[in-house]
């Protein structure tokens, strides 16, 4: 039997935004799918040298090693089937280090193989971490700051001489880097137009568990991923929505690991009888453990009640 054509989905995100956790969590969920509409594994790929050790760590609740930029991960496939439609796909989700994208931004260039990948991919999974600031904090003049709180926080010694660092490209804010990378991709001219972009807000369990004392805090930390993106990553959100002819987008809150790294959290995570139930995917009002949901949306295998944000 001939294998299905390979479908590439690009995991795009800066360092530490949960790309590898997503990939490994996806591999686990494909083997233990609880959603009848979700993708499932048709069988193991021939080469699992990259994914299998990571999967073992994930199952033990351990943190995953940071993906190396100097030694790119070997190719790997996820052989999948969509039971309701019978669609079979061999997915390739290259797990590139976040520094790779940082380097693309700083050097203002993309290697030719990256250009081809963006041109031919079926869509993007764009990662942002819920606990990272999209932008730099703007300084306030001292008059804005409560003097009582300053006196409590700041020792009364003479301040050291000020050293203002010179701006470098590396210093650009995260949402600026991501918007610029998307502009690169738009310029390359992907074959898919509009190109589907599933925005993954990772570590969503932190948002879910954040206390919301009062309406103001609730407004600043909304539990709806799309609303969260519009408040905390406005430049990225507006860019995607304004360019719906180039990028079709939808926002997902995802906890691919399922929790934190403390001993108590690890004990909780390994306590699940079905490890796939550690996973949390929030998509509008819908919550599930189906990590294939963003992938299905990109591939057009989602139910019709799930339109894009734009």
């Amino acid at each position: 039997m001939s294998s299905p054509p390979e479908t590439t989905l690009v995991l795009l995100g800066l360092k530490g935004t949960g790309k590898t956790h997503f990939l490994v969590g996806l591999d686990v969920v494909l083997d233990d799918q609880s959603d009848p509409d979700g993708l499932v594994h048709t069988g193991p790929a021939a080469d699992r040298a990259y994914l299998q050790p990571l999967r073992e760590k994930w199952l033990r609740g351990e943190d995953l090693d940071h993906t190396s930029r100097s030694v790119p991960p070997p190719p790997h496939q996820l052989l999948t089937r969509h039971p309701p439609s019978g669609t079979i796909a061999s997915l390739y989700l290259p797990d590139l280090a976040g520094e790779t994208f940082d380097a693309n931004f700083v050097t203002r260039s993309l290697p030719i193989e990256a250009c081809h990948r963006f041109q031919n991919c079926a869509g993007l999974l764009l990662f942002v971490h819920c606990d990272e600031a999209a932008d730099h904090t703007i300084l306030q003049h001292p008059g804005f700051i409560d003097p009582v709180s300053i006196s409590e926080l700041v020792p009364t010694e003479q301040p050291a001489a000020e050293t203002v660092s010179k701006w470098r490209l590396e210093d650009a804010a995260r949402q600026v880097k991501l918007v610029d990378l998307l502009q690169f991709i738009a310029e390359i001219g992907p074959q898919q137009k509009p190109l589907s972009v599933a925005v993954i807000i990772s570590a969503w369990d932190l948002v879910e568990n954040a206390p919301n004392p009062g309406p103001r805090a609730a407004a600043e930390m909304p539990k709806d991923p799309a609303r969260f993106l519009s408040i905390h990553w406005p430049l990225l959100d507006q860019f995607l929505q304004s360019n719906a002819d180039t990028f079709r987008s939808r926002v997902f809150g995802v906890s691919a690991r399922g929790g934190g790294l403390t001993a108590a959290e690890i004990k909780r995570l390994v306590g699940f009888d079905r490890p796939a139930e550690r996973v949390l995917v929030v998509d509008g009002p819908r919550r599930s453990n189906d990590l294939t949901r963003p992938v299905r949306w990109v591939l057009g295998l989602m139910d019709s009640a799930s339109p894009s944000n734009a």
Partner: protein, 256 residues
Amino acid sequence: VLCAGAQKSGKTTFLARLGEMFRDGAFSHYRFAGSLTLCAFERVSWSATVPSGASSPKTVRSLRVENDTFYHLRIHPSGEPAYKLDLLISDLAGETFPTAVSLRQFCADLRSLARADHLVLFLDSARLADQANRHTECDNARAFLQQVLEVKHESRSLEVEIVFSRWDYIVRNSQSAALVLFCQATEEDFKRRFGGRFAALEFRRVMARPDGDLKPTDDVIQSIFAHWLETPIYASTLPTPRARQPARDFSAFGLP
């Protein structure tokens, strides 16, 4: 859009604040759709951010070599994503403003001025609040507008906004009431001299990054931005339609 004014009059801070407002989602009527100069906006804001190590917000000054370069923004009105607008904004380095005031040829050679639909002229309120400098500040601004009138083709198509920048220096001054009157008199003087000679002459008071406990006048900044976008762009009409197959290259517009 060309922003002009003396050194440290707040031109670059104004532009930095524009970029910051798009990055923090503060713009209410316009949505960000792209920019070819995101890094330039980042650079001018950097010294006002916590990671820069600065103890109070600062702005890097624009350099002479940056004249006739542009910031780019692509935006659309909220709810109208198909109606995209590209905005090019040039920040005339303050160090070259005295040259622009005194040398007509310098102004004539400024491509950003030749192409501008809007001129934003910054009057530094810090200098207006200073008895020794206030008349020079006004005089230079008047002289610059005179130069613009001399060199700008179809100056009646140019929208001019005069910005009393760093307005917090007036608000916080112990002689605030008198200074406000002086600024009003300055406005009247500009209207008398230049009213009707440009497409429009408007006056704004802006604090982009005020000292003390004052808040930035983001609403005024937004209204200036909206004015750039909502003013119909004047398009020159050619006296004769272009001939598609002229006898000579130079005679496409009706010359024999």
